[in-house]
Each structure stands twice: as structure tokens, then as C-alpha cells.
Amino acid sequence: MGIFVDKRTRLVVQGITGREGRFHALRMRDYNPDVVVSGVTPGRGGHDVEGIPVFDSVAEAVEQTGANTSCIFVPSRAAKDAVMEAFASGIRLVVCITEGIPTLDVIDMLDQADKEGSKRRVIGPNCPGIITCGEASVGIMPGQIFRRGPVGVISRSGTLTYEVVSILSSRGIGQSTCIGIGGDPIIGTTFVDCLKAFEDDDDTGAIVLIGEIGGRDEEEAAVFIGSMTKPVVAFISGRTAPPGKRMGHAGAIVSGSMGTAESKVKAFREAGVPVADTVNGIVDIISRLL
């Protein structure tokens, strides 16, 4: 169980022969050898990456290895094409690690993914991926820090998630699924999408939401949490960030009065969601809630 990926996930890695793609494909296979079934690099069909077969197209990978999920490591200028190819080939879930994709490409690929009321999903782009503990890792998260348990984690950042997860694990609190939704202004899967899925997931008992400045995703999440039965703890990074500056992530920017940490903290407090002031505070609160 867990959300979006599990032991039934069959993964094709697009861009598997590149440096990053190759490195992480092997790490994902280490996490669960059943999950990683194939890779795609146009022109490299017939080769293999330490035993993982490589195909020229996603369609071939789907047909011959039963892939249902794709993890994308192709360069930013080719990413939209790669996502479109995956969906056109019958893939239902695309986890897009690639950073720096033009915003209009992201809008366009998400728009196409949504076509015909399909149940297609993009996680990311510019995200560290997703891990359902003990079942499947799709992306670049360091598998060894996770341990199985009842806490779902949703975050806009990578290393800050690892930080929180390692504190959780060291205190004996395991995780169901941890998902990095990405630091771009436009992303496929939002906090609300993840909260909905966690609410319906039997393995998840409580949720940690790690937000940051920029956009209105956290405010929308706060409203949704009002209708949930499971407890959520929130954390916002960038509380002291100056307005108008992009803090590393393309989406982490306060524009005018939009996207401030105060607005997000206020939204959570009004929804009765505890907001931790420090990363350790997140774990203190969650351990009381479980």
C-alpha cells in the first residue's frame, strides 16, 4: 500500500544511459529488483544497463516489459517530449526528476496529460521522486534513511525531506510513502492531491507536510485538511526569505503579497493544523499525534 507507487509498480527509466539516469536506475533496482524493468534511450535499443534492458521507445518498453510507470531523467529541453511519449505509450504515472523545464512546456505537458479525463499523473517536475517504504523507490531519494511505518510525508524539497525523515526514523517513527512534489511554480501533483490519496490509504495514520514560500499550494492544502480525518503537521521553510527573490527553487518566490510564509502559516493555524517552528519540532508534534 502507500500512495501512487508500490510493489506492483513496473518502472521504465527514460534517459537510462545518461550519467544520472544510470546511477539512479541501479539504486532504484537495489531498493526493489522487481520494480525496475526497463530503460529507454532512443538509439540505444538492444543494449542493457547492468542487466536492465534498454529500448528505443517507451512503447517497446511497455510492450516487452509491462512498464506502467516512468521515471524521467532526460535533459530539460527534451522533457516535455519524454512525458508526452510516456503517456502516449500507455504509462499512467510519470515521475519527472528533470529540473529547469520551461514553464510553458510544463503547462502544455500537464494539459495533455489531463486530456480525455484520463487518470494520468505527473509527479514533479524538479522533484526528488517518491518512495513507498519497503516496496518501491522511484526517483533519487536515499532509500537507506527510510523505515516503514505510519507517517506519510509530502514536501516541495528534497534534502529537507531527508532531514525530517532521518529524524523520524532515528526516533523509531516509520513512514508509509514519502513524496517530493517538486520546487517548480507549476507541478503535476499538488499537496491536495497527495493529502487526498493519504486520507484513503490504510497504511497512513498521520501526515507531515513540508511547504515553502511561493504560490498558494499550502493555502489550498490547509482548506482541504479541514475535511480530513487524519492529523497533519505542517512546516514552512523560507520564513525569513526576502520578497522578490527566487530562493533556489523556481517556485520559491514571494511576488507582491503572494506566497508569503505568514500567509501559509496563518492558513494552517486557521484550519487547526499545528505548524512546527523547527524540523525537530515536526517530529515532536507527530510523535504526540500517533
Partner: protein
Amino acid sequence: MKLHEYQAKEIMRRYGIPTPHGRVAETPDEAYEIASELQGHAVVKAQVHVGGRGKAGGISVVMSPEEARDAASRILGMTIKGLTVKKVLVEEAVEAVKEYYLGVTVDRSRKSIAIIASSEGGVDIEEVSAKTPEKIAKMWSTPREGFMPWQARNLALAAGFDGGAIAQVGAYFSSLFRLFLQEDAELAEINPLMLTKDGKAVAADAKITLDDNALFRHPGYERLWEAEGDDPLEQEARRRRLTYVKLGGDIGVIGNGAGLVMATIDAIKAEGGEAANFLDIGGGARAEVVQNALELILMDKAVKAILINVFGGITRCDEVAQGLLKAIESVSLDLPVVVRLVGTREKEGRALLSDTPVVIADTMVDAAKRIVAIAGGGM
């Protein structure tokens, strides 16, 4: 990448959107010349990447070429919100009977493009949106859906345009949308769009922000980039390909991952300190990147102490530590450094740093406490 008004207007003209006649000047004499061509009655406008130019005295209406020269010599070189004015736009003064707002931007929540019109032009659109939302007409679209002329006309109608202006403004809207897509903009805005006595509409002020991630599709845009908007250290960071933001304090911060660095800066503030910068060295944290980052931090003379917070998920901590040692040696670092290293082979990493003056912290909060104590001279 933010463009100057004069650059934005050049692009808009290419898409058939009328702007006042005029050109950019870098000297008072050039301003005189341009104003003469415009028969004297002109506006002289500072070209800087901040709002509130008018209030700061950066915009002047002049009645003669002589006045234009005087205005330009006053405005050129003045500082507006920390930015020095190097260019002025001299253009014909337009008399408006009504001012409107037209904008195309990215709507994060709806994952689409928002097209916005308002009968309240020439003011801050955010304020209009907050106080009188009924005066704003909005539509959403995507590259696939496009934006049809009838939709543009309906939007103009909803924003309060009437008569002949509906078709005319509708056409400008279509142009602005086309510009937004073809130029890979994040924002394309006309504020105000002035309606003149003879029923013509003209873009009196224009703003365009381009998507940095799409610059590969527009090789010509690199030359449009004018660096005066950035702090010198931010310019240096751009050259070094580091993700850096200058802040006001005295504690240099290096970390891997944007969220982690932001949280580190917050933790420093919570302990009573002030970070000098945001600097994300990315997931890998390789030795040469650490060195590059340290060199940049040391160029900031305000920095009194440095906090390095690395979560070595996949990266091994002993490799990070070795990189750090090399870096500290090569830049002959003499400022106090607190390092917080977590992840694979953490013990080995810490052991490598144990014989150095580097202070090792256990947690992020612990690291923040120590660095604030050091920077404050308490240790």
C-alpha cells in the same frame, strides 16, 4: 529575466501593439535630440527593474527639448531603491481619457495561463484585485487551447471597453497572448493601456519577464540581459553558476538543496542571527563545488562566520569532508566554520574534520546555535 520598459515595448511593437513614439537615451544630449524629434512634449522615464519609479522622481513630463535634457541629467545616475539609473526612455507624452490594464501571466494554482483585463489601469493590479475584484476580468488558457479573437473581445467587453475599442483591444489581447507563448514569457503586461481622445489605444507602460529556463529557445535574449539589477556578488555567483541570493546578515550559509538552505537560514534567524546569503550547492556537493561556494562567500566582506549544512543522502559524508578540507586549504580560510554533516559514512566524515578548527554540529538547530554564538563573538 526581467526586461526594461523600452525592451518590452520593442517586443510589443513587433507584435503589432502600438506604443508611444520614442527611444532610449544614455546621455542628456541624446534625450534632447529625441525630445526635439517629438516636438518637445515628452516623458522622460528611468529604466530600472523596480516599481514606484514615479514616486521616486524617476519620471518627468517635459515641454521642450531643453527640459528633456535637464530631466535626463537629473534622472540618469540617480538611485531608485538601490538601483542606479543608466538609461532613460524618452517618448511622446500621451493624453489619456481612460487607462486600462492588460496582462498575461502564469497561474500556478490553475496550471495555466491567465489573461487579465481591468478598467482600473495605471495602478497596482494586486491592489485592484484585493479591493475591487469586480473590476477585474480574467480568463484562463493553455498553449493547446489557445486564445480565440472572440474570447479576446469578450474579455475586453467584460473589462468595460465599448464601441470601436472592443475589437481594437481584443486584437491587442490576441497579440499579447501570442507574444507570451512565442517569447516564453512569465509575464507580459501593459499597465496602463491608454485610451486617447481620438479613440486610439496605446501601451504607455510595458513589462515583460522572460522564463530563464526557456532561454535556449531564444539565443538572442542573452544580450537583453542588463546586470544592474543584481548585487555584485549575485553577478559573480551567476558567473560561477551557483544558486546564490545576497541577504543582509553576517553569517555565510552553504547547504545542499533549496528547502534545506531556506530552513537553515530560518533556524539562524530563530537563534537571533542573520544570514549573509542563500547558497545552494545542489544534491551532489562535490569537492570543487564546495570550494567554488566558499570562495564566493569569502568575497562578501560582511561575513564573519560560515555555516555549512550538508545532508549527504546519496553522497558519502567522507567525500564531502574531504572536499571541504581541500577547499578550506585552497582558499586559506581563516573565518570560523561550523559544519553539520549527516548521511552515509557520517562517522568517517566527521573523523576527517576532527583535527581541524572546524566546529562539528549534530543537528541543524545545534549548528544554528553555535554559529550565532560565534558570529556574535560569544565563544
